[in-house]
Amino acid sequence: MRAVITVIGKDRVGIIAGVSTILAGCNVNILDLSQTIMQDVFTMIMLVDISRSSVSFAGLSDSLDAKGRELELSVRIQHEDIFSSMHRI
């Protein structure tokens, strides 16, 4: 199962490190990563494989959310299907 992690907020040191440390700790593999500044807002989008994750989806989501609060950013994880069903026929 694949999921999309989005990080949106003000750019700062340690965003990728912070998020990827959590993912590595949960045995979540990063498949793709893109990062851009959209309208002065730092936006990072990661495609990850959570099929071998050592924690539940809810647990992973909570950890990322906590990291987001620590870094003062919005960090969310969503099942990939929500994007593919909306944007692909």
Partner: protein, 452 residues
């Protein structure tokens, strides 16, 4: 991989434009709960609902979390209770409403629909008893919703039922006078009622439906308005295309959630209802979409045409996005549940007459309309008759959810709370309709050739 712009568009629709799944509604047949002993029937109803829907809320919450899309309501609709309770000798059906309420409490849903009767051609004994029980049933429960279908295009209009519903609505208002007549907000009078509608208060599980089914209602007025902001001044071809594309995307979410919920619950997938359902919160208004199209205030001349375009484009965009479409599917215009409608009524731009015209081209009808507490039952029946006639002649669903709020006058505000919002009390005609309503009988079914 999905492009970053697409990811951001989805997140923006959810976070800023308030896109959500309005409801996952589980339809449950209660036909096998009939019993000559009403107490036994109620026990069967409770057991069946709590058995089938025990995981509904949990599954809904899990989907919400995993997909990151809010699912506002989890609800249940059941077989019209008049059909189930009619097997018993019981004359007062309030105990059936209490059994529904108890089951809804147990599984954690916020509304349960189906305290209903279908009387478009006439009453059975069960129908009559159910309708008499409505005021007490709705005033002594919180989650139970009721609906009565008084007309169809094929059967015509049961004017005896129209007359009676005026009295029932007045009585329901009287019994909940302390809450502004709240019971009436849970009661809908229909023409051509759909059997798979997931939205309250009019949801019930029709007799052509399977044992158990999942129906999903989407929302998203904010997303449509926001898309239109980007095509300011463009012609109507562009407006219609823009709405269609957005409606497609909104509906795809509904389809995904419906399929996932049906898979996880082991229940068949019924339909996605394409309705644009507003809420009282800012940025979630159908009226504001119409204003974005260029009418200064909802209710100004041009509003009906704007709504017709919106309703049609939503259906065109949504139909391709879902494998099965049903329910009401269109734009809802409930006054008290839409911030833009409330504003329009308050400033005098939107009248009951204009709303009636708007209902000719959109999905439901006169919805969540507060009128003065002194409005007579005859006038309420006549308002129902007018609205129902629109549905019957135009071969579409129409409905009336009207609240004659005790002690309130035109211009007062009635607070219903939560999703039901707050409604400004609207003016009704001061001229009577008593002699018209008194006639009773049936208005025959219309002819559908020689159309003009």
């Amino acid at each position: 991989m999905i492009s970053p712009f697409e990811v951001i568009e989805t997140i923006k629709m959810i976070q800023e434009e308030k896109l959500d799944i309005r409801t996952i509604t589980m339809g449950i047949s209660l036909l096998d709960c009939c019993d000559p002993d009403a107490g036994e029937a109620c026990r069967k109803i409770y057991d069946k609902i709590t058995g089938l829907a025990s995981d509904l809320v949990r599954v809904g919450e899990n989907i919400e979390r995993e997909y990151g899309i809010p699912i506002i309501n989890k609800r249940i609709s059941v077989t019209p209770i008049a059909l189930v309770a009619g097997s018993s000798g019981e004359e007062n059906y309030v105990m059936f409403a209490r059994a529904m309420e108890k089951a809804a409490d147990e599984v954690g849903v916020n509304f349960i629909g189906g305290f209903s009767a279908l009387v478009h051609k006439g009453y059975t004994t069960g129908d009559r008893r159910l309708i008499h029980s409505i005021p007490e049933a709705l005033s002594s429960t919180k989650k139970v919703c009721s609906s009565v279908n008084v007309a169809t295009t094929k059967a015509g209009i049961n004017m005896d039922a129209v007359r009676e519903m005026g009295l029932i609505i007045k009585e329901a208002a009287r019994l909940t006078a302390g809450q502004g007549g709240l019971a009436c907000a849970k009661l809908v009078v229909f023409a051509n009622v759909p059997e798979d509608n997931p939205f309250m208060a009019g949801a019930f599980h029709g007799i052509g439906e399977p044992e158990c089914v999942i129906n999903v209602g989407v929302s998203g007025p904010g997303a449509i308005k926001s898309a239109l902001e980007e095509v300011k001044g463009a012609d109507f071809g562009v407006v219609a295309e823009t709405i269609k594309k957005k409606a497609f995307k909104i509906t795809r979410m509904g389809q995904l959630v419906a399929q996932e919920a049906s898979k996880r619950l082991g229940v068949s997938f019924g339909i996605v209802d394409l309705s644009l359902a507003p809420t009282p919160s800012v940025g979630d208004s159908v009226a504001h979409i119409l204003e974005e199209m260029g009418v200064e205030k909802c209710g100004a001349h041009g509003t009906t045409a704007a709504l017709a375009l919106l309703n049609d484009a939503v259906k065109k965009g949504g139909t391709m996005a879902s494998s099965y479409v049903g329910g009401l599917s269109g734009a809802f215009i409930p006054v008290s549940e839409d911030a833009g409608m409330i504003d329009a009524v308050r400033c005098g731009a939107l009248s009951l007459e204009k709303l009636e015209a708007m209902t000719c081209v959109c999905s439901v009808g006169l919805d969540m309309i507060a009128v003065p507490g002194g409005t007579s039952s005859d006038t309420i029946s006549a308002i129902i008759a007018d609205e129902i006639a629109i549905g019957v002649i135009n071969n579409k669903t129409t409905a009336v959810r009207i609240i004659p709020s005790p002690g309130k006058e035109v211009g007062d505000i009635v607070e219903f709370g939560g999703l039901l919002g707050s409604g400004p009390v609207m003016k009704v005609s001061g001229y009577g309709s008593g002699e018209f309503i008194k006639r009773g009988g049936r208005i025959p079914a219309p002819i559908h050739s020689l159309s003009n």
